[in-house]
Symmetry: C2
Subunit: 863 residues, 2 copies
């Protein structure tokens, strides 16, 4: 099943948009996604589109209109110095330069502001520009909310389809089907004549072993069909649509470019396959993929606004907000969503984004509510309301749950990563469709007999969170009916602790089995080639564990209410333990252990319950869970998958532990040949071209001269190649013997019969970031993180410290140690081959940006 797919994007083909190609070769059929209307913004931000973006690097060159001291005027004098089209754009699998992008946006903003004073039209356009961000947020919220509503409704319908069909119309789900029926009683609201199980429909009866087996087989059939459709659609149309998407979105938000990851095809396929995957009964949730879907919406909508289409940094602000939107619609928790985006996903999150994210999250939540997918005016299936307070002593079991959650989280991450690595390195990974079918079949096989695994994850959680009232018909509420306590009021008594009945014991057994099953099957499910979220399965595991502990505590308290620990608050007939609360705390603990979310998790749970009261148990469990899990490894599941896939991601939270200096990590090493530099004048076009050809560095420092290596600026390989190519085509007299001049005023010696010089000052970054060779690496990494640098040059200006390198104390060149420091230093996996799930034309970010190169690998489409 090895398919060679993507064409290699070489520099020669740079001008022919070859890097927009999306050839996916599957089973012999070559699908070309690169037709014009298929290219979503993030995948089409190549230089053809960005050609008209004005002066992309003008402020970097200090030649903006207001720069009183800069060489501002020279622009108009020499039109040839205007950067060529394509300068300032990025290739796929490259990292963006945040500083440059933000400069670009500031220039654009300044231009609009200065123009707006001149005419009314310009003023109006500046106003519309200012409000375009809000409009975009509104659209993102509306679109994501609508999609989430559609996904919820479809998934509900397809899930019920596995069990039966509605005679009034096959498009009704079970609940909806029975609403319309008059024959439904409150006690048996799930049963109505219109809803027929498959056995009833086919064999006419729902009783007996034959009907059971028939239902069983139909359940398995639908599960296999749905999962097969999901995996085949992903494989055929959008390989990027698999998984949860959060690791990749984190990477994209940190500044990496993955063309097509947030494109139109990904959106369509992910939406459809998400419904199928959830309905197939696999142990996965829709929360992570919803974040991906929201980000796709945002990216596509960015296309409508020049401001966002043309600026990678601005677009990432919108994507951060979209991540908040995704969680907002997944849990009906707008504030939690914003905090999730801030805490877990985003890299660069200015305060303006916070406010806009919140707006978008709210819009999405209200759109979803007006669609009302669950028919209960709630945003989520498991809205809960507890009435009983909790006791301080209950913190002990809550912390126990936290420990369980932490252990489970750590274990899950280790097991899942080991399994995913196995998938990448062994033949297992060559059969994604078979894998999905096997897992789906096994899941369906085991799930059906147990009612707690047969229901969907969200329903299970909803039932576990639920507080039992006397009228509740659930098996989990199978308590013995107490004789009415005469001394108590009837109202308080409906919630009082009662002894467990046989029904509850059965339920507990089933729950224990479900727990074991869910724990195992989730490990192999997450990471398969279908859209798969992790929130719901993790929460389900925790909720089961919590409910078991809660019921245990309840019975313990009921039978031993005279123990001194229960004495204070557990008198007979009183309601002292709420098992539903335990389930919720357990769910939070397990989710916290897996994702290492903290504030956002607690706030999401707070928004689910609405009570400030229950924050403390949640917090205790989440904190414990995080500490316990961190003791086994500091990475959450998303970071682990980022590392597994070798994405270049510089974790913003992580502390840099080493104590090295910039001089220790810079390239070239001391033993390497000296740094390749360009001189600001004196080199010919031919020399520059051969130098660029002979190396694969993605950028070159420009120095005063080879003897006095004083730094003038930095020029990117891509910009250089594009400019030379452009000049050769358009500018007369540019031959290989032409001088390349980076200075502002060309020296006069070229006046003789030499060809006119080629001026490249406009593409020269005159303010490259430099650090001294003695800068500690933790400070350097901090600079990279906070400013979003792409590269950094290392300078050495004094010579005294050179002694220990056995250099003679002579006048060493000023910038001789000039070199660049590793960017995204410690997340770089040494071997970046074999990316699974997505086939990428990968730009390996080697530990040093001076070595940074666009290795056009012919990667195997291993899907």
């Amino acid at each position: 099943m090895d398919n060679t797919g993507y064409r290699t994007g070489s520099f020669e083909g740079l001008h022919h948009s070859s890097d927009d190609d999306e050839l996916v070769d599957i089973a012999g059929a070559t699908l070309d996604f690169s037709s014009t209307e298929d290219v979503p913004p993030l995948s089409s931000g190549s230089y053809e589109e960005q050609t008209d973006s004005g002066r992309p690097s003008s402020s970097m060159n200090g030649s903006g209109p207001g720069g009183s001291g800069g060489p501002g005027g020279s622009r108009c004098v020499d039109p040839l110095e205007d950067p060529a089209p394509g300068v300032g754009t990025y290739e796929d699998f490259n990292t963006i330069d945040w500083v440059r992008e933000k400069s670009k946006d500031r220039d654009r903003h300044r231009e609009i502001t200065s123009k707006s004073r001149q005419s009314t039209m310009a003023f109006l356009s500046s106003v519309s520009d200012a409000f375009s961000g809000w409009l975009l947020m509104l659209l993102v919220g509306l679109m994501s909310g609508a999609l989430a509503g559609g996904i919820d409704i479809s998934a509900h319908w397809l899930t019920d389809m596995k069990e039966g069909v509605c005679l009034n119309g096959f498009w009704f789900n079970h609940e909806h089907c029975c609403w319309t029926s008059n024959e439904t009683t409150f006690q048996e609201r799930d049963k109505c004549p219109q809803w027929k199980s498959w056995a009833e429909l086919m064999a006419g009866t729902n009783e007996g072993p034959f009907a059971y087996i028939l239902n069983y087989l139909m359940y398995m059939f639908w599960a296999l069909l749905f999962s097969f459709l999901a995996v085949i659609l992903v494989r055929a149309f959008a390989p990027y649509a698999c998984g949860s998407g959060i690791p990749e979105i984190k990477t994209i938000l940190s500044g990496f470019i993955i063309r097509g990851y947030l494109g139109k095809w990904t959106l369509i396929i992910k939406t459809i396959t998400l419904v199928l995957a959830v309905s197939s009964g696999l142990s996965l949730g829709k929360e992570g993929p919803l974040v991906h879907v929201a980000c796709c919406c945002a990216n596509i909508l960015c296309h409508l606004f020049t401001k966002y289409r043309k600026n990678e940094a601005k677009r990432r602000e919108v994507l951060s907000a979209a991540a908040a939107v995704g969680v907002s619609v997944a849990f009906g928790a707008p504030i939690g969503g914003v905090l999730f985006s801030l805490e877990e996903v985003s890299y660069y999150f200015p305060l303006k984004t916070l406010w806009r994210s919140f707006f978008a999250a709210l819009v999405a939540a209200f759109t979803l509510r007006s669609i009302n997918p669950f028919g209960n005016s709630r945003l989520v299936l498991f809205y809960v309301e507890f009435h009983a307070p909790w006791h301080l002593l209950e913190l002990a079991p809550f912390i126990l749950l936290g420990i369980f959650g932490g252990l489970w989280g750590a274990l899950f991450i280790k097991a899942n990563i080991a399994w995913c690595r196995r998938r990448k390195t062994t033949r297992l990974g060559h059969y994604p469709i078979v894998e999905v079918l096997v897992v789906a079949g096994f899941t369906a096989l085991v799930s059906f007999p147990n009612s707690y695994t047969r229901m969907s994850g969200a329903e299970l959680i909803s039932e576990l969170f639920n507080d039992c009232s006397l009228l509740d018909s659930s098996q989990l509420c199978g308590y013995k009916q107490q004789p009415a306590n005469l001394s108590e009021t009837g109202v308080g008594n409906t919630l009082a602790d009662r002894p467990a009945d046989q029904g509850l014991y059965t339920a507990l057994w089933q729950l224990s089995l479900a727990l074991l099953f869910k724990m195992m099957v989730t490990v192999v499910t997450f990471g398969m080639k279908v859209p798969s979220g992790l929130f719901i399965p993790s929460m389900a595991v925790g909720a089961i564990a919590g409910r078991l502990l809660g019921v245990g505590m309840e019975q313990l308290a009921y039978y031993n209410h005279d123990w001194f620990i229960f004495k204070g608050w557990c008198s007979p007939g009183a309601d002292c333990i709420t098992p539903g609360l335990y389930a919720m705390v357990g769910a939070a603990a397990c989710l916290g252990g897996v994702t290492r979310m903290t504030v956002s998790l607690v706030v999401i749970m707070f928004e689910l319950t609405g009570g400030l009261e229950y924050i403390v148990p949640l917090m205790a469990a989440t904190m414990t869970s995080k500490w316990v899990a961190d003791a086994f490894g500091r990475e959450g599941i998303y970071e682990a998958h980022i590392r597994l896939n070798g994405y270049p991601f510089l974790e913003p939270k992580e502390e840099f532990a080493h104590n090295s200096l910039a001089v220790d990590v810079m390239r070239p090493r001391r033993s390497d040949p000296a740094l390749t530099v360009l001189t600001q004048d004196g080199m010919t076009v031919g020399e520059v071209e051969s130098l660029v050809e002979s190396t694969h560095y993605s950028g070159f420092p420009v120095v005063v001269s080879q003897e006095s290596q004083r730094l003038v600026g930095f020029v990117l390989r891509r910009d250089l190649l594009i400019s030379i190519d452009n000049a050769r085509q358009r500018q007369e007299g540019v031959v290989s013997a032409s001088q390349v001049v980076f200075t502002e005023h060309a020296q006069s010696q070229h006046a003789d019969d030499a060809p006119p010089p080629m001026r490249l000052r406009s593409i020269l970054d005159l303010s490259p970031f430099t650090v001294t060779d003695h800068t500690p690496m933790d400070i350097t990494v901090d600079i990279f993180r906070k400013l979003g640098l792409r590269q950094c040059l290392v300078t050495h200006n004094g010579w005294s410290s050179l002694g220990r390198w056995d250099m003679p104390t002579t006048v060493s060149p000023c910038v001789s140690m000039l070199d660049c420091v590793s960017m995204r230093l410690h997340t770089v996996s040494p071997s970046v081959s074999m990316l699974d799930c997505v086939s990428m034309r990968l730009h390996t970010v080697s530990p040093c940006v001076s070595m940074l190169d666009c290795v056009s690998m012919r990667l195997h489409v291993r899907l």
Copy 2:
């Protein structure tokens, strides 16, 4: 009333802790606060304390243990190179170096981690170190919660004291007094025989004009007494205790040092005077001061933990959390508090702080709840619960309220700043006590006749937010009793719209007058020399306006329910308009207009109501309010006060609008004499000393030699002076003729009869931040903001761009343009004299750090 106060802190006195002195000379009495136990952490972070902090700048010097390439080993060989005590600390009114502080903390952390593997004790101490942050947060939460509870109870009691006294015990407030009474009915729960108004107590009756005048006089007497006590206490013991404190805390969090601002005396005095000021009936709130109180608690508790005591950056993390705690206890909104800290107050807010802030805010909220200051198990006086939904068309009046809020906010800021400037520049400011008494007297005089101004701000807001039920006895609920609508259910009808009665009309008139009065008096109140918060007065203004509009809408809808806009949802007998909601929206709009808070404001309001439903109206109003207010000026009240007071604060949100380059703003200017530099060897101690004496720069670049000005490092004036002083005292043979050597290995020429050289490499910062002269200022400002730099050197390495400065094209020195860029550039007011409210020994941050100097001004204590 000009009092000269603070002693000047000169460099000569540096070793004698003179900069810890807090001499406040008031009315002839000199109080010395500088006894040992009075010195709070932030005011005692001077170098005596930090002596044992190990190698404060070791990582900056690249000599950490793991630095393989650094000059690591030299430390042990030459013990004299250890930095002298005091090196690496800051003077008062200086800006901290975030990079250095963070490096210090990382070194400390690494040391503890590496030690922890060696012994069990060390491991335990590393664990306790890791948990000390959480313990500190717990303590901050407990202490702040307890103090807030105390403040609430005392303020309630003293406020009631203005009207009367409880016979059961004078320490009962009105409500508490009547709780214990059996004779209280539900309808007249405010009246009980135990509670006597002053007229009843003194004249025996509460009827008639005499009793009214007697009550009036007693009310004014108490108001004047409380305000007099407040202002005199502030003046006498803690001038820093005045105002809201939020502008100063923002400045401190951005890295400025104001010793004593968060000290013990400030805490004690602010707590007491806050109670007095609130009780005096002045138009001020306790929310802002509570943030200050919480920060004082945090700062004092930091003293208990070495980790936080010795590191200015770490301490600021705790202070950020404390700001969240302050808002949490003020509004019972922990999430809102954290977002407030993130959005409004904090400068450097890592994610770890987010989680800890949340923890501390929760602890504080629960401490406050367990104190139960309002007797209703609620955290705040104005918890509200609405039942009716709002209609989409109601967004129009909500947006109107937003416009009102924005206009009021902009107007308030302009008026208040004008008034405060007047206070600073005219003789008005010389009589703070008289000012407070006049304002308090006027407020009391006007407030008493109007019941809505007589009650405290929080009570007023609570009443305005309240939804009228049929049983409500408030005047605002003076609707005509409707005959029971037979067609409707009784329950739904209790909240139905009803026509206004005479009582309501009276209330509306009184409210209108109260609105005008509040609007005027708040302008002159905020900024007086008493603790004064702005949240409650702003919210009161907005709530009144909102309630007026709400009642108006309600009556309009009642009488015109057949208009097509009301037709949909305002049938007779239905509850279609909730005036309380309008009040809440108005309050949010006005608060938003004044402070320009956005997310945090909405979240605080959300936490007050608990309903997701009402976020949309709140958001619409807040957004409108911010946009309207921003159109008149982008500064919120806190930023305006920061600018008014000339604090060095680099606004993180503001965009840098200019288009200049680093070369344009660096010092020295082109016309100035060349930059003063030290050479790495060849200078004698005497030369260095005279150079330092003759200039007032706070730091000097160290270059290779005067001819080849290549940058080696940067040395701070303070470190240099301390080290030389220390060496002269302790090291033998250091005389004025001794060579000062910054190199790692001293040259051999000093072997002859010359005195041994003095090595200062340990205080040399080998990795100073540099930018090229062509770096745009917006990027430079970004670097300053994000990394928290103190200074930045400007280098010029190529000479080509020098042409326009008419320099010959010769080999200009490599670092000749070396200079430093303005730090905190655009917030620097040109004249920094006359700080009001607090008397500071001010460090003027001149536009250039190379000019940065510790001007020890003998500022007038103008309090």
